[in-house]
């Protein structure tokens, strides 16, 4: 069973997001990137499946600044292979384009199951996993957990989670693409020393993007803007003691809390 996990860097949402001069995109030079947290969940689930079933795990990513670090980290965590797809990719490449580039790379690999993060904070034109499945003509299921491949039967079973906490057990023929909501355990960490060791001992495999007809997303972003706070919270100022007093007073006033009454 060969598992493939596409990894993508996304803007770190804890940081301030500033816009470019035209206001149509982020100021990408000023951004701090991190691995998409759902991709990290997908990688963790793949690594657990490697441990429990002997599957092979390949991490794959489109070339981007700092992507080598992401791929070496995946190797340090236990991935068997790390593949960098090289080509001239624009920063903030849309998912339609990324899906087609990845599909080209997937066709050159032996892949049974692709585990993608279910979503990313910047997928304006749709989730990568579903678009990748579309480009490959493979079936897909989004918002999944509890992945159980059955290579003898040529299927994978997984839970698709719905609002309200219920879920369906679905069975999908392989090859397939799943959008992972959560791994069965929190993503592991790789020690910096382990990553350094891996960087010395292992190499990233590079494959060039196959030129082909790219159906871009066709969406034109006119502008990005911060939400106008319709009713921003009243912020309680001062030190913690002051904030606590003001909060207690406010809650008492509303009759939500009865403190000292």
């Amino acid at each position: 069973m060969n598992l493939l996990v596409p990894l993508k860097l996304v803007p770190d949402l804890v940081e301030e997001l500033t816009l470019n001069e035209a206001g149509t995109d982020l100021d990408r030079d000023a951004l701090i990137y991190k691995l998409n947290e759902f991709d990290d969940q997908a990688l963790e689930e793949a690594l657990v499946l490697k441990e429990t079933t002997g599957a092979t795990v390949t991490a794959i990513a489109l070339d981007a600044p700092e992507i080598d670090q992401v791929l070496f980290t995946a190797l340090a965590k236990g991935a068997d292979r790390a593949v960098k797809v090289t080509g001239d990719f624009e920063p903030g490449i849309d998912n339609h384009t990324a899906a087609q580039v990845l599909a080209g790379a997937v066709r050159g690999q032996q892949v049974d199951l692709v585990l993608c993060g279910v979503q990313a904070p910047d997928d304006l034109d749709g989730q990568l996993g579903v678009l990748l499945a579309g480009a490959l003509g493979w079936p897909h299921v989004s918002v999944v957990s509890g992945i159980e491949p059955d290579s003898a039967a040529g299927v994978v079973r997984c839970h698709q989670e719905y609002a309200g906490g219920s879920m369906a057990l679905l069975e999908t023929e392989l090859p397939a693409v799943l959008g992972v909501q959560a791994a069965r355990q929190p993503p592991r960490y790789a020690a910096v020393s382990t990553i350094r060791k891996v960087m010395k001992e292992k190499q990233l495999e590079e494959v060039a993007a196959t030129p082909g007809e790219v159906v871009a997303s066709k969406l034109q972003v006119r502008r990005l803007f911060k939400p106008e706070s319709r009713a921003h919270a009243r912020m309680l100022e001062g030190d913690v003691t002051r904030q606590v007093e003001d909060l207690v007073a406010a809650l008492n006033e509303r009759g939500v809390l009865k403190v000292g009454v």
């Binding site: 804890v14 997001l17 579903v130 913690v240 207690v248």
Partner: protein, 319 residues
């Protein structure tokens, strides 16, 4: 290129409220374009589910045993076959679990563009403009949707719901005999829990901002002190710190308590969807720009590990 199509959703025999929300916005757009509004519903035994959708001019039912349970493969095949020849100007789909699969899946099958996570859509002269929520709700994108057929997925709660019913024509469309590569096996209900957070008057809800499970104590102490139940955001549940029955948000429960105390929750759109209608929302977070402060009534920028114990102590001390 004509018509506004709403893909309605009825996963377990009940119509999802978002379907009626899409119909209200769909009607507005259809009227301004002078084009028909068409609802499409896929499933099995749909007779009772069609009438609430009749505010649309046409209700097209894909009623077939093969569509009785949701699988992306079968539903996409059937819906694509019926909407492709319509060449609609716009297709609207709720951004639910099924909607995530359908919207991007149909976009890939039909080669129609998709704008995901929309909270708005409007006509400007003859241009169709979408507004999509990005970057965890920190930014919105105003997107030109073009003049070809286009799909948008819409975050539930973005539009008011239309009153169910109307005089639209109900039609049954043929379901093409296709082979689904994905099969439904069983529905697994939420595990019975010791608590029903939907019934709680007050919730202290914890996010990953508290750092780790070792800090849950301080949240549980506060909950006990103010007579609240403990709830959680998705990452906390995914990490196994608290059970799924306590999860608030899109893939968890929707709650409307009198008091919702968000501790270390940044306020991702998926979380806000499950709690924004709480009567009174207090949020504690270290990030002053966290989206949770957009929906909270009272905001406190502080380290939860310092603030929460101080509040608990103050509550216990009384006057």
């Amino acid at each position: 290129m004509a018509g506004i199509v709403v893909i309605a959703e009825a996963l377990n025999g009940t119509l999802n409220e978002v379907s009626l929300e899409l119909l209200s916005k769909g009607r507005e757009l259809a009227t301004s374009l002078g084009q028909p509004l068409i609802a499409v519903l896929a499933g099995e035994g749909l007779d009772a589910l069609a009438p609430p959708l009749q505010s649309a001019d046409r209700v097209v039912l894909l009623d077939d045993p093969a569509l009785g349970k949701f699988t992306p493969d079968a539903h996409e095949q059937a819906i694509a076959a019926v909407i492709a020849p319509m060449e609609p100007r716009l297709v609207m789909i709720g951004n639910t679990t099924a909607g995530m699969d359908l919207a991007a899946g149909l976009a890939a099958r039909l080669h129609w563009p998709l704008a995901a996570y929309c909270t708005g859509v409007r006509m400007e002269a003859s241009d169709l403009i979408g507004v999509a929520q990005l970057y965890g709700g920190k930014l919105f994108a105003e997107v030109e949707l073009g003049s070809q057929s286009v799909i948008i997925s819409v975050i539930p709660g973005s539009f008011p719901a239309v009153a169910p019913g109307g005089t639209g024509v109900i039609e049954r469309a043929a379901v093409p005999a296709g082979k689904s590569r994905t099969r439904f096996k069983e529905l697994i209900a939420l595990e019975a829990a010791d608590v029903d957070i939907k019934k709680a008057q007050a919730l202290v809800s914890v996010g990953r901002g508290i750092g780790g499970p070792e800090n849950l104590d301080i949240v549980q102490d506060l909950a006990r002190a103010i007579g609240a139940e403990v709830a959680a955001s998705r990452p906390v549940v995914d990490s196994g710190w608290l059970p799924k029955a306590r999860q608030v948000g899109k893939s968890g429960l929707t709650v409307k308590p009198k008091l919702y105390f968000a501790v270390g929750i940044s306020g991702a759109p998926e979380h806000l969807q499950g709690m924004k209608d709480a009567e009174f929302i207090v949020a504690v977070n270290t990030d002053a720009a966290a989206p949770i402060f957009e929906v909270a009534h009272l905001g406190i920028v502080a380290d939860a590990l310092e603030f929460v114990p101080a509040l608990t102590e103050r509550v216990r001390a009384g006057a």
